[in-house]
């Protein structure tokens, strides 16, 4: 059976923390790519922001739907954002030493003729109060092949032991 799911690179944040995790020089040899992130930030307002090819143009759309056990909220950015913004990392105001996780899926990332979509599901944990579960969909309105994906907390740094693994996925 052909290997269709391959770990390209993995990284673990060291004791000093990290302001971002940046996968560069991603080969175009896969059909799709995926990133599994287990992370926590040292700020109360930190959510993950995903950037492609270091682009800061306001050409990303996103939609989020998230719930915390007592209410459900939806929000969006209609092409005025330079990043896609899912939920799924634990913040400093949540239970100590817990990490949120998210799975980022980018199909057809190497295409040079289509816009790039991304879907993300994520959860974080706050004992005895709430746990957030969220789905997000994003679109980068660019035909450029994705060769770089950067994840930056909106506030603060990733703490030690946060990890991210980039996978390449082939369709056969």
């Amino acid at each position: 059976m052909a290997t269709t799911y391959e770990a390209i690179a993995t990284v673990t944040v060291g004791s000093g923390g990290a302001a971002s995790i940046d996968f560069q020089n991603i080969a175009s040899t896969y059909t799709d790519i995926s990133i599994n992130l287990s992370a926590r930030v040292d700020a109360a307002n930190g959510v993950a922001q995903i950037y492609f090819n270091n682009s800061t143009a306001s050409d990303k759309l996103w939609r989020r739907l998230y719930g915390d056990g007592s209410s459900a909220v939806s929000d969006s950015s209609n092409g005025t954002s330079s990043y896609v913004r899912p939920i799924g990392i634990n913040r400093s105001d949540q239970t100590a030493s817990t990490f949120g996780n998210m799975s980022i899926y980018i199909p057809n990332y190497a295409s040079s003729s289509t816009y790039k979509s991304v879907s993300v599901d994520g959860v974080n944990e706050n004992n005895a109060t709430f746990a957030e579960a969220a789905f997000a969909a994003g679109l980068w309105q660019s035909n450029s092949a994705i060769t770089r994906v950067t994840i930056i907390p909106s506030s603060g740094n990733f703490v030690q032991y946060s990890t991210a693994t980039l996978y390449g996925i082939k369709n056969s």
């Binding site: 944040v13 000093g16 971002s20 996968f23 700020a43 307002n45 209410s71 909106s154 506030s155 603060g156």
Partner: protein
């Protein structure tokens, strides 16, 4: 000094690089924007919860009764 983790997927090499002054300024601006965004989200959530509570009060239902009703 804050650092960033850069992974070169062609070699597997991981580098920890100190942020430039410009990157630190960008990070601080992003943090400020995040704080504003979080405040907006909390306002929106509180407004929805208040609206829900108002409707339940008008109907004379508890949240549990409404949940049963909506199945």
């Amino acid at each position: 000094m804050p650092t960033k983790l850069v992974v070169d997927c062609s070699t597997g090499a991981v580098e920890e690089i100190e942020l430039t002054a410009e990157e630190i300024a960008e990070m601080e601006l992003a943090a400020q924007q995040a704080e504003e965004q979080k405040a907006r989200e909390e306002e929106e959530k509180a407004a929805k919860e208040a609206a829900r509570a108002e409707i339940l009060a008008k109907l004379g239902l508890t949240a549990e009764e409404a949940a049963v009703l909506l199945g």
